[in-house]
Symmetry: C2
Subunit: 237 residues, 2 copies
């Protein structure tokens, strides 16, 4: 839906337009290299108008853009609680990685820190997204009261996904998104299985999750590929 | 070795003494809450003397303390290239986690970012430690030219270890250090094995590493604990 040039935008529409212009600039350049003039130009408005909406200047605009991106990111995680867990995770990761792909430099700058616009507030926004991601995963695992080991496993995997996303952007988005997604799903399966070895709650979660898998699913494919690599380890048992 | 009170410290000794006082304060409080007066008091010297050694004030002192901690941390990774890899990793993690334990709040503040004393220089110091850790691991895996998937696996695990360390400090250092260490070793084994499923180089590394393991080692213990959890998955094959 395009907005006719002669119609005045509502306050909310204007605000959204400025945030989108800012987000697309932050996706191409680190925050330090984006000025309010750039944002005004990209949105086709005057600099004073940008200041009218964001009197706190670039810092306020950056935080508002970040909040809007965080909301969008949290929507990536929503997934109906049906079918094999690896398939649900795979779909959520598809959306998450598309988000990383789109926001690119802005995503890196934010997670890598050290940016002049990074504050305890921006850190809190990012941590909120991490917490939301962990909650979604634990909900899908149908765990009401996650113990420390299961929570640590999930949080470690989320951090590892962030690290992988940054490396992926650094590597010119190689391997292709679908390959990275499958590999991240497999890493999650491996992390959970290893934790299950020491934690009865995680073991129950893994057994329940395995019961939902099919011979065509991600776990079956992983198992078929892993067996030849570890067959020699049988001598250790 | 204690320094007699009447002997004047050499420049290098004094500098070291001030850095140690700073590091122990940063271990108890976030950098924002440590003043140069606190450092002077902890070291039993005057504030002007602290300024003489660190004319750049707290920022310079913080960066120097960080550099000194980074060197200490990198020494944790040194391990002779002998015996099962899980045992070498376990010993290095023992030293790393003792470092985390000792530096406590300062370690958290640094990795969590958002601190007023965090700059691109401090971020570069921390990244240097991460790169050193990755290099040590790849050396032990005897990989001359690591491909993208093996590198990504190693870097993801390093990030996951950092996340686990922060969670561990947050959780009042529970579980006990030795338990966390064993679990992190197992997570590394799991991550490598899962990557081996898709990457021939990682598969070779895993096979070579398994050949060094014994029936009393970490991999054997992990395998014995994991098998009962995943036995139902045999139907997927």
């Amino acid at each position: 839906m395009t907005t006719p040039a002669y119609r005045r935008l509502s306050v909310e529409e204007r605000r959204r337009q400025l945030l989108e212009a800012a987000l697309s600039l932050f996706a191409q350049r680190v925050p330090e290299e984006v000025s309010l003039d750039d944002v005004a130009e990209a949105a086709g408005v005057s600099r004073p108008l940008v200041y009218r909406y964001f009197p706190g200047g670039k810092q306020q605009l950056y935080e508002a853009a970040l909040r809007s991106a965080a909301e969008e990111l949290e929507q990536c995680f929503a997934e109906p609680p049906e079918g094999p867990l690896t398939l649900r995770l795979s779909r959520a990761l598809d959306r998450y990685l598309a988000f990383v792909d789109e926001h690119d430099a802005g995503f890196s700058a934010l997670l890598q820190g050290g940016s002049v616009v990074e504050t305890s507030r921006t850190t809190a926004i990012v941590d909120g997204v991490r917490r939301a991601a962990a909650k979604h995963i634990l909900d899908h695992l149908a765990v009401r009261d996650p113990g420390p080991r299961l929570r640590m496993t999930v949080r470690m995997w989320i951090t590892a996904v962030e690290a992988a996303s940054l490396i992926w952007l650094d590597n010119g988005k190689e391997p292709p998104l679908a390959e990275l997604r499958d590999w991240l799903v497999e890493q999650f399966v491996a992390a959970l299985v290893a934790s299950a070895a020491r934690d009865p709650q995680t073991a129950r979660v893994v057994k329940a999750a395995l019961a939902l898998e099919t011979g065509e699913g991600a776990v079956a494919a992983l198992a078929r590929r892993v067996l030849p690599v570890i067959e020699d380890a049988a001598r250790l048992l």
